[in-house]
Symmetry: C2
Amino acid sequence: MKNQQWKLKARPTGMVSRENFDFVEAAAPSINDGEALVEVQYVSLDPAMRGWLNEGKSYVPPVGIGEVMRAIGVGKVVEAPKNDPALKVGDFVVGMTGIQLLSSAPAKAWTKIDPSLMALPRWLGILGMPGMTAYFGLLDIGGPIKAGETLVVSAASGAVGAVVGQIGKIHGMRVVGIAGGGDKCRYIVDELGFDAAIDYKHDDVRAKMREACPQGIDVYFDNVGGEILDLALASLRKKARVVICGAISQYNSPSFVGPKNYMSLLVNRARMEGFVVFDYAPRYAEAAMAIAKWHKEGKLKAREDIVDGIAQFPEALQKLFRGENFGKLVLKL
Amino acid sequence: MKNQQWKLKARPTGMVSRENFDFVEAAAPSINDGEALVEVQYVSLDPAMRGWLNEGKSYVPPVGIGEVMRAIGVGKVVEAPKNDPALKVGDFVVGMTGIQLLSSAPAKAWTKIDPSLMALPRWLGILGMPGMTAYFGLLDIGGPIKAGETLVVSAASGAVGAVVGQIGKIHGMRVVGIAGGGDKCRYIVDELGFDAAIDYKHDDVRAKMREACPQGIDVYFDNVGGEILDLALASLRKKARVVICGAISQYNSPSFVGPKNYMSLLVNRARMEGFVVFDYAPRYAEAAMAIAKWHKEGKLKAREDIVDGIAQFPEALQKLFRGENFGKLVLKL
């Protein structure tokens, strides 16, 4: 079996495109002692990928020029590690596969999963990095949350936002989601049970936010940055918490814009805090168990947007940054 | 005795000036039952005054057009409240005097002070709002602080910044101050014992900050906003705390600029938090006792910049916003 891989050719300035990558064929990797070879079935496409393409110091090193594009994926073990009974051929695993058909890594770098518990793409969504991000971002960084508090979340139908809002509802918060377009707005209210939705493409966000949050905002969970972050800052309540999870509106912009209303933090004795989900790895099991339970009880729904074919990778990534995906974006290899 | 008062005539856009105020004479106020009449001797000029002049919701209502300009002052009781032995003629008090020679208010609105413990202007500085702001901002919002951590403070020779840095040193931190000009920089290092100074008017702040904070910044206490806030954000260490105390570089600017490097909060799992010192009123005594003790021990020095004459009020305020004061700015009436 041949491998197919997407490698970084040149760092993007502005929007990512096909020109930033090389799509190459390669021989199936030979595995070293203790490594498992995995046939990758789905890879997760996440906003964080844009940051991984930038030069410079961050919470992880950037993807190097000529390296396979970094991605979390789920797949099946096709060659088990020698002398390690932890993984067998046919086992399903999650790990840092990269955007490629075949991926090898030491056995301990793979997490074995049970696909009978939940469909494979969902292990990249509500049980994957987005689910963990939502859980710890809201409960730990945005916390302590209280029933009756008002939670606003941007990119609210997205992989992280949808889980944030639903966990907020489970805890008795008033939840307002910001999303692009009528379909997504109806979905978060009608399907996910949010109290209100703001359509940033068509509504007057400032007026709608005031109307949807008559008491102001206790927790703002930000995935987008830019103007929406500023409007949320202008609506904070005393002792509010602003969770900085992402800034997708800015990632492909040549000039990053900061929140000019940040002095609202002073007036409202509020805090703005960032986090990196990988820090919570020792507690992933706690989050996964809670999310799986809520999902089983019908309190936390999942939705995936699956793009078919490894060849579609650059366009699928553009779809993400244009906000055109509806649900957790996954590439089926 | 006649009263003289500075009243707000028109809200400033951009830098405050004499045109925004009326300087008027008035009869000495007659006092109501329970009120004390105070002859104001010194008033405090603070960056927060600029915010009080703006229309709109904040942590206190704006000064109204035609009202005496709000200010904290210290003075002597010249008419004691009837039937209230708490204040006698000749007592010295601190309170919201406004910019005027004579000020009346209910007895409970005045705090009696002992001028033999510390000179009058100092009750507006290290023992006044700036001292309280420094104490709670650093220890509560910036805390918990640890010996060996790196503290950077802007407007470091100012009323708040000088106290912040000295409290940092008392707690064993490495303290770096940012100030404008060689005199102020020499003062904070040679007189106040800071470890390093950055002259934002003449140094390459980015390079100097890197050099002065080889481990990065654990606590950044911000009084200025703008570009310096951005440079500090770019140098944060993991789990850093950014204390938002003020943004004097922006107050008189027509377009408020936000910190474009705020995503450093995410990368560094850091937080940025604001506060309003008035919330700490129940704990002022704790701060005042600590500061007075450190001052007596020679560990915390005070410096005032005294402008003489109530007629100088608008120009003295401009001096503050131009960064031309050296030490706590006080107007002697």
